[in-house]
Symmetry: C2
Subunit: 364 residues, 2 copies
């Protein structure tokens, strides 16, 4: 059977290894596995959210409120924007999908950072659009602007803080860049880790409200998968001008978020104490990573997220190191597929980090 | 801002009204609302499934096992097929999306029944493919074959039992039809309501195993949203030859099913007693609909599902009838958008049906 030409260029996405897989492959007791590969919140999910969801399991037979009225109202209040400027996705991934399918096609292009979130490229390949990359590892907005002028991309993706490197763009530089982009180019500002950046350094804190007030062509993305501790529930959102939201809505399948995911996200948004406490602990623990790296003379990229990226030296292969950690039940992300000899490690709980440092110390 | 041309032809899908919306619009007490619009299982969700999900709410922070190993193994066992022939979607809707994006494009066409599940058309419009429809209300496989020969569609959708009409194709006729279709044409057999048909009449019972054994070009779809009582959790599946599954996998976004949805689906599959009991009660209650229709001299389409479609007489407009029911807090589906003066009603619990008959009796 023949399929569409575009499929030929698509490789299946390899997600961070789940605990189940490591159990199956290496026969390690699930209790001894430390998963630091997918930037989940290591402090788990707020007990208030757990209670809210547990109290509504009898509602699983009912389709969710497809208008997502309640969640959009609460998000609107949280960000001080109108709920009509919000679209909810099955993770912010899905909003990326909508944006690419709405704007990109075989005859135009998207512009992304050299090293950045893998889903931009994956969805771009689905529509067969051209993918233009910068050359620098961290976002260099001058280079973005040069390529914008030269190549006229239909979409530009700025991931700040960036995954998988952890660096963040200065807000003032971002706004200056956006000022120069024409109104027909859709700029996606992916703030999946923005809650972490906002805590660490106000100069990196970009808010959807400010973007919305100034730019009709900017789509801000956020997620409940990271600081809110709901990676498993698949809820993200896009915030933009009405015109963009209406276009994305045309591509949204009905019931794209589950009944219990809506409940969970609504409850998570109310428990800011949990979110802030998770972030605080994250940066306390991150200091240990910085100290470990300094001790080992390993370069790390200053991180505004809940993960750190260790740029390994030539005598250590990131593939070997991550594989050897895996054999000990510790899952990290090898960045060799990004052409980096680096590993990305989610900053875990104190106990998880103890385990990691103990094993990593033997390997590098 | 300009968007892709294909968006111009897409209208946003209107889902069945959720209870929340009726509460907001008409100020009716949620306790008094009877929702018979979305073909959810009126007997709710199995208590075993509720317990399984409630016991794992602490896992919401973790991304799901993206290989979906456990669910695919159990589904494979249930249908006696290899798990490698299975793909899991966020509802079977999403597998429809994968199939259309894999095979349809601007230069080819899909063939669907005159009146059928709305999502085929919606996804087809996203890729700008031509949509060919039969003329008869129920599936007429002779007409399908004529159009197949004339138009050479890349995909054919057969929905059996069909939504929103409730009729089902005879298995022998279906197999005879499939025998005549060339191997490069993908035929989707959408069995979202197959558990109901299988119970009512064995001659309508199409199994993925039989399809897989005979046809490399057939994709069977099933869902946990109906008989399994998990409409809110968004889990469906496709079963087909390895080659088709591998192609669809390229279009599957990672983590497309939530952590708790996987738990729910796995537990639901184990509780066949709940499923069978729901189906049995469904057809007991359906007799009351048949009697009501006979009494009122209303034509109904013999249904192999958990809903009935009342073809109203000219003096009753389906839009008026459904709107008047809505004002009483009873939600049914007006089929005027399908060019039918008909209403589709989910067969509810005895009590829900009492309420419906009481109000409907006054209106038609």
């Amino acid at each position: 059977m023949h399929f569409n030409e575009t499929l030929k260029n698509i490789k299946t996405y390899e997600a961070g290894k789940p605990i189940e897989l490591v159990v199956r492959e290496f026969g390690i007791d699930p209790k001894n596995i430390v998963k630091l590969a997918s930037n989940e919140n290591p402090y788990g999910v707020s007990t208030k959210v757990q209670e809210a969801v547990a109290s509504r399991v009898h509602e699983m037979y009912m389709y969710p409120d497809d208008s997502m009225h309640e969640l959009k109202e609460r998000l609107g209040k949280h960000f001080d924007v109108d709920s009509k400027n919000i679209i909810i996705g099955s993770g912010s991934d899905q909003v990326i999908e909508f944006a690419i399918h709405a704007k990109a096609n075989k005859d135009n292009a998207i512009l992304i950072n050299s090293v950045t979130f893998a889903m931009y490229e994956i969805y771009a390949k689905q529509v067969g659009t051209k993918i233009i990359r910068t050359s620098s590892r961290e976002h260099n907005l001058d280079e973005f602007y040069e390529l914008y002028q030269k190549e006229h991309p239909a979409l530009i993706f700025l991931c700040t803080p960036n995954n998988p490197t952890g660096d963040a763009i200065d807000k003032s530089a971002l706004m200056h860049f956006l000022d120069k982009i024409d109104s027909d180019t859709l700029v996606v500002v992916d703030g999946a880790y923005m809650e972490y950046a906002a805590y660490k350094n106000a100069s990196k804190h970009v808010t959807p409200k400010e973007l919305l007030q100034k730019y009709d062509n900017v789509l801000y993305l956020g997620t409940f998968s990271k600081a809110y501790g709901l990676g498993g529930m698949r809820v993200g959102y896009g915030i933009a001008s009405r015109k963009i939201i209406q276009a994305l809505y045309k591509l949204r399948p009905p019931f794209n978020v589950t009944t219990l995911s809506l409940t969970a996200a609504q409850a998570a948004l109310e428990d800011q104490e949990f979110v802030q406490s998770s972030i605080e602990k994250n940066f306390q623990q991150m200091r240990r990573y910085e100290e470990f790296a300094a001790k080992k003379c390993i370069e790390i990229i200053p991180s505004y997220t809940n993960f750190v990226t260790f740029l390994l030296k030539n005598n250590n292969s990131s593939t070997d190191v991550s594989h050897n950690l895996l054999k000990k039940g510790i899952i990290v992300r090898d960045l060799s597929s990004y052409n980096l000899n680096a590993i990305r490690i989610t900053v875990g709980t104190p106990k998880q980090n103890d385990r990691l440092f103990e094993e990593l110390d033997k390997l590098i």
